[in-house]
Amino acid sequence: MSAYTAAELMTINAARLLRDHDVVFVGVGLPNLACNLAQRTHAPNLVLVYEAGVIGARPSRLPLSIGDPTLVSGAASVCSMYDIFSLYLQRGLIDVGFLGGAQIDRFGNINATVIGDYFHPKVRLPGSGGSMEIAAWANRCYIITPHQKRRFPERVDFRTSAGFLSGRAERIASGVRGGGPQAVVTDLGILEPDESGELILTALHPGVTVEQVQANTGWPLRVAANLRTTEPPTDEELRILREELDPQGIYIR
């Protein structure tokens, strides 16, 4: 079982970042797999919250959209969208948010809106959805994304959601409650913010070199003094992903 896909590698490393009893704002796809994996391994008391208004979901099949009916049947609670964003997220009850986007920049700011000029878009992307508020108000945010140069520019074309803005001091001065992005998990390794809020390389996946990561990053990437190598996916993690969570390989292939 030692071979694994890039998606499996990212999912497993993201799962390991979650702590037992965390309340997580989940998206579908890899974040959903990561949360369910964490729940079945080291974090049995993880609470899954979906922006559709579902709290404490226990899906009995792999949810294929953020509003899949399997999220509702057997959940602990369902509330309105206004309530999920105000009473839960804005109030500060969400420990962890997952984010994604077409571009992530040096300070963890995310673009999910547009490539090129906003009013004359070259590529029009889906837009914020919940991410503008998740990035601001969740205690910790994690980003899962494949590591490609076009996805990691020095500056995003459009700041859909806040990382550390131009640096950690600016985020703190802005008064937003959340701690900002804590880690970017890619298929090459893990980036984390330093004291200034700049994303630096803190871990490599087994077999990956610093040069590979730099070649796929759009700014001069700094490397942590204590750069580590991530533990390879265990057989048990891979088994749960492949046999229990995504047996048809919809997301992990």
């Binding site: 559709a52 509003g67 509702v72 049947s73 369902v78 964003f85 590529v123 914020s128 108000w137 700041r159």
Partner: protein
């Protein structure tokens, strides 16, 4: 306002949806009233302002059919699948106006509209760029702490279309499962068209008043439209047709294919009943769902 508001969806759309109206077809991934959109397409409405947090395929189809001049939204995608190819192409080509919020901004606009308030406050997000490009976002100073808050103005659609599991003939409606922005949209709108999987006796609704999200006196029309939400779903009644969402992703690569699809599945059928029959037995069975009942509660006979 009459006590019995039942009518056909054809009649309801004819009476309450006019060219140029702002329409809010509600439902966050759940209870999306596709049948109403198809009827609007069939009746040839033009220049609509289409507002929805997630345009989904329902607005993609209306935009492809030429019904809309403007889109108000907060996330534009084929949920769980990919992008909305037609909407994206229209925006990139400069043929469709748009106005954009985050989900919370969009829903706060509905909440302000529903509550009769001139604005709703939100805590700042520091992101900045969406505020910069959309002048409807404004800032205020909190009079208690001096800190800034972000505000958005009310959204009061001309008509909201709300799909529900069951309603009585007056328009009192039970909704369960994901309730999204259904209540806020109904209260914010000037007119409300209700589509329901089932029309039930008043006694069924009144046996569980806490379940009634929409009260009769915001409702103008009550339409019995089983399977209204396909390819979306109705909790407890049928499943989401995920295969359709995947098929659409391929199909919508070609505008001709989309127009042909509309010809066959919208103009080619009289109403939702014909559409559902046309889907065929295999689809019916694939989307059928086994029951899972709620534990009943006791209101007491006071």
């Amino acid at each position: 306002m009459p006590s019995d508001k039942r009518c056909s969806l054809t009649e309801a759309i004819a009476e309450f949806v006019h060219d140029g109206d702002c329409v809010y077809a509600a439902g966050f991934t759940h209870l999306i009233p596709f049948a109403a959109a198809h009827e609007i397409i069939r009746q040839g409405r033009r220049n609509l302002v289409l507002a929805r947090a997630t345009p989904d395929l329902i607005y993609e189809q209306m935009i492809a059919a030429g019904c809309a001049r403007k889109l108000i939204f907060s996330y534009m995608g084929n949920p769980g699948v990919g992008s909305l190819r037609i909407v994206r192409a229209e925006i990139e080509a400069g043929r469709l106006e748009w106005e954009e919020y985050s989900h919370f901004g969009m829903i706060s606009r509905l909440q302000a509209g529903a509550a009769g308030l001139p604005f709703m406050p939100m805590n700042p997000t520091a992101a900045g760029d969406l505020e910069r490009v959309n002048p409807n976002y404004r800032r205020l100073q909190d009079p208690y702490t001096g800190r800034e808050v972000v505000v958005v103005p009310p959204l009061n659609p001309d008509v909201a279309i709300i799909h529900v599991q069951r309603a009585d003939r007056r328009g009192n409606a039970h909704i369960w499962g994901i309730i999204g922005e259904q209540k806020e949209a109904a209260f914010a709108a000037r007119h409300v068209i209700l589509t329901a999987e089932e029309i039930v006796e008043e006694e069924v609704i009144r046996s569980d008043p806490n379940r009634t999200l929409i009260p009769e006196f915001v409702v103008d029309a009550v339409c019995h439209v089983p399977y209204c939400a396909h390819p979306s779903y109705t909790q407890g009644y049928y499943d989401r047709d995920n295969a359709f969402y995947l098929t659409w992703d391929k199909l919508s690569e070609s505008r001709e294919a989309v127009l042909a699809w509309l010809e066959e599945w919208v103009f080619g059928v009289k109403d939702r009943q014909e559409y559902w029959q046309k889907l065929g037995e295999e689809t019916h069975q694939r989307l059928a769902v086994k029951p899972r009942w709620s534990a009943p509660i006791n209101y007491g006979d006071y």
